[in-house]
């Protein structure tokens, strides 16, 4: 886990939250380095919002401590924490105009001359013209920016964002993602961002923690999580993965050789998160876009050293930049393959016999004891 000796880190140690008999967040240790853009990603109800609210002080942890730098803030009420929140659906005060909404925190801390600061902040979020409007007179995107300005003006040590873009339509959401990223770079404050949208988390965050059922499944940079998932949940929740059940065979150097559907697959030992005893079972994963598709007639042209699987095209859908194939194969009934539309092979139609092949370096290995479908339905949520 990343830790620096920076005094602005958010450190959660062993915090948990239970409501009566059930547990929303299992004891959790987490450190968010100062100045980073950190995302808590998960389906609705995975405990990510509860975790965020415990940092904000809106939820009292059942156990554990919350530290900001060296200060233990676990017992502090929200209004005494140097932390501000951008709420889901914004929670702008309907009876106050934009200016007063943004000035609210400053005024509560007894700061008299707020005009300059508020105006600067409204400039930063490009709302200088709207200062005297009431929240309901603004568009969704503008309301979202007021919510960000209202929190940021207090120069919190940490800015918490609870699904801040959830209420916006797709196009605006993409735009605001870049906008938030720009603001974060500009002000250099730690952002902790809760979202259920994996694309959003990967675009914006330096570090992503994937949460499931009240615990963190995996934590890391977006590319690490995507390229090297360590659980089936992460593999399925982030993008799409083909998971093939295989039996561990011999070991050659840094690679493990596996047996699946009568063929052999090679997996770099470093990319396997499960114990590998000979004869044991593993789930071998590969992303659909890493796979190349060759018609069975041309199988001889495939270079040596690549993982191969044979199959028959069950379905093909053309979606412009790529074509998505579903392959029926002895190792797995449904393998997804995304092929870039560079040179299209007219023989690759449903019913055609094909060979799937990919660079073994793109293979990852997971513990076969897990639910192979974990994280599949949640993605839609």
């Amino acid at each position: 886990m990343k830790t620096t000796d920076n005094s602005g880190d958010v450190r959660l140690s062993g915090i948990s939250k239970t409501y009566g008999s059930f547990t929303a967040v299992h004891p959790l240790d987490l450190t968010v380095p100062q100045g980073s853009f950190f995302a808590l990603l998960g389906a609705s109800g995975c405990g990510k919002t509860t975790t965020l609210r415990m940092i904000a002080g809106l939820e009292e942890p059942s156990s554990g401590t919350v530290r900001l730098g060296d200060q233990d803030v676990t017992a502090l009420p929200p209004y005494k924490r140097p932390v501000n929140t951008v709420f889901q659906s914004y929670a702008l005060f309907p009876h106050l105009d934009v200016f007063e909404n943004v000035a609210f925190g400053l005024r509560r801390r007894g700061i008299k001359s707020v005009k300059k600061q508020v105006e600067d902040m409204l400039e930063l979020v490009q709302l200088g013209e709207q200062a005297r409007k009431k929240p309901h007179q603004l568009s969704g995107g503008q309301q979202q920016r007021v919510a960000v300005a209202r929190a940021l003006i207090n120069h919190p040590q940490v800015l918490l964002l609870d699904e801040p873009l959830g209420a916006l339509d797709l196009k605006l959401r993409r735009q605001m993602q870049l906008e938030l990223k720009r603001i974060q770079t500009e002000v250099g404050i730690t952002f902790v961002h809760v979202t259920h949208d994996q694309e959003e988390a990967m675009t914006m965050a330096d570090t992503v923690a994937v949460m499931n059922a009240g615990r963190v499944e995996q934590l890391g940079a977006p590319t690490d999580l995507y390229e090297n998932p360590q659980t089936t949940f992460v593999a399925n929740f982030l993008g799409t993965s083909n998971l093939i059940e295989a039996e561990v065979g011999t070991r050659s150097g840094d690679d493990i050789v596996l047996e699946a559907g009568g063929g052999k697959l090679v997996l770099p030992a470093a990319r396997c998160s499960a114990p590998t005893t000979a004869g044991g079972r593993l789930l071998v994963g590969v992303r659909p876009e890493k796979i190349s598709l060759t018609h069975a007639d041309d199988a001889g042209e495939i270079p040596e050293g690549r993982n191969r699987v044979t199959g028959r095209i069950a379905d093909a859908s053309f979606i412009g930049v790529s074509t998505q194939y579903v392959i029926d194969s002895p190792v797995c009934p449904e393998l997804d393959v995304y092929v870039q539309n560079i040179e299209r092979d007219s023989r690759l139609v449903p019913g055609a016999e094909v060979v799937l092949h990919w660079n073994p370096a793109h293979t990852f290995g997971l513990d076969a004891a897990q639910d192979i479908d974990a994280g599949l339905e949640e993605e839609a949520a």
Binding site: Y19, T23, D29, S44, L58, E59, P77, R215, V216
Partner: protein, 309 residues
């Protein structure tokens, strides 16, 4: 980094929200409730008990009253005043039905057809409240006056012949007849029917009408199958808000009626304030309360709506 175990579905946000603000004391709600609840207990609930006790007392004003469990008071009260009870129920029921018939079109008009006049009409429905209802009820004496234009018109159209035959009016008079009392009751409680009706009609999505039309429903069918069922909550609370006060009213019977139109409210008022027969008055009041609570409970059960007012 984190421990494992399967978590059940998470609490919905509302559950967590209700817990806040958690730092305030566990007893805060009780402190907030205390003064108001004490007020209602002492000045609403306790009087009911006193009244129940008074109804089974015997004695006289001079010598004082004692609880003797004299339930005969109830039998005497019922035996003496059952016509007034029946009359109250009949008048209140007629007024309620009339309120529904008159109020529904107006509520419908405000909800769906008024357009930019909606606010103005709403104001006109509410504004009469600001003139004391007694003054407005007295105005009906002028409107229904003997030989006045209204009575004259009804006479010319031979409406009065029919109503006299039914026993609702007497000869050429409307004033001091059941019709006048029901007319006054209807007038007085009409806004209490219109407002809940409007509230529930306003919630209906106008597109439902279009959808019904699209699905081959004629306007009247649309009303019967879509609009009216959806406005049921308003109908239920409107009828209750009209029936209950109308059944206990004695102002209209006193001002617009005669000795033949006395309702149970008149009897209770006279017993309490003029004859000073407290046990009988308390018994009558208790019977009225029990009867109305019973009717209301049955009615609510039947109509299947629990959220009122």
């Amino acid at each position: 980094m984190s421990t494992l175990t399967e978590a059940p579905p998470p609490p919905s946000p509302t559950v967590t929200d209700k817990k806040a603000p958690r730092r305030r004391g566990r007893f805060t709600p009780y402190w907030l409730l205390l003064p108001g609840m004490l007020w209602l207990i002492v000045f609403f609930a306790l009087p009911m008990i006193y009244q129940a006790s008074t109804s089974v007392q015997t004695g006289s004003l001079e010598e004082g009253y004692r609880v003797t469990w004299h339930f005969a008071t109830y039998w005497h009260a019922l035996a003496d005043y059952w016509p007034q009870f029946l009359r109250s129920v009949a008048y209140a029921a007629s007024a309620t039905v009339l309120c529904l018939l008159l109020g529904y079109p107006l509520a419908y008009l405000i909800a769906f057809r008024a357009g930019r006049w909606r606010n103005l009409i709403m104001i006109l429905v509410i504004a009469p409240f600001f003139t004391s209802f007694l003054i407005r009820t007295l105005a009906w004496k002028t409107i229904l006056a003997d030989g006045g234009p209204v009575v004259g018109a009804l006479n010319t159209l031979h409406v009065l012949d029919v109503t006299s035959w039914l026993g609702w009016t007497a000869g050429d008079r409307v004033l001091a007849t059941p019709l006048a009392v029901v007319c006054g009751l209807t007038y007085n409680f009409l806004p209490f029917m219109i407002l809940p009706l409007y509230t529930s009609l306003e919630r209906i999505d106008g597109r439902l009408h279009e959808a019904a039309g699209d699905l081959y429903a004629k306007p009247w069918t649309t009303f019967r199958k879509v609009t009216f069922p959806l406005s049921m909550p308003g109908v239920v609370s409107g009828t209750l808000l009209t029936f209950i006060p109308a059944a206990g009213d004695y102002v209209n019977a006193e001002l617009l009626g005669s000795t033949d139109t006395r309702m149970i409210g008149n009897v209770i008022q006279t017993q309490f304030l003029r004859i000073l027969d407290y046990p009988t008055a308390a018994a009558l009041s208790f019977i009225l309360m029990a009867a109305i609570l019973l009717m209301v409970t049955v009615y609510i059960r039947r109509s299947g709506t629990e959220d009122l007012v």
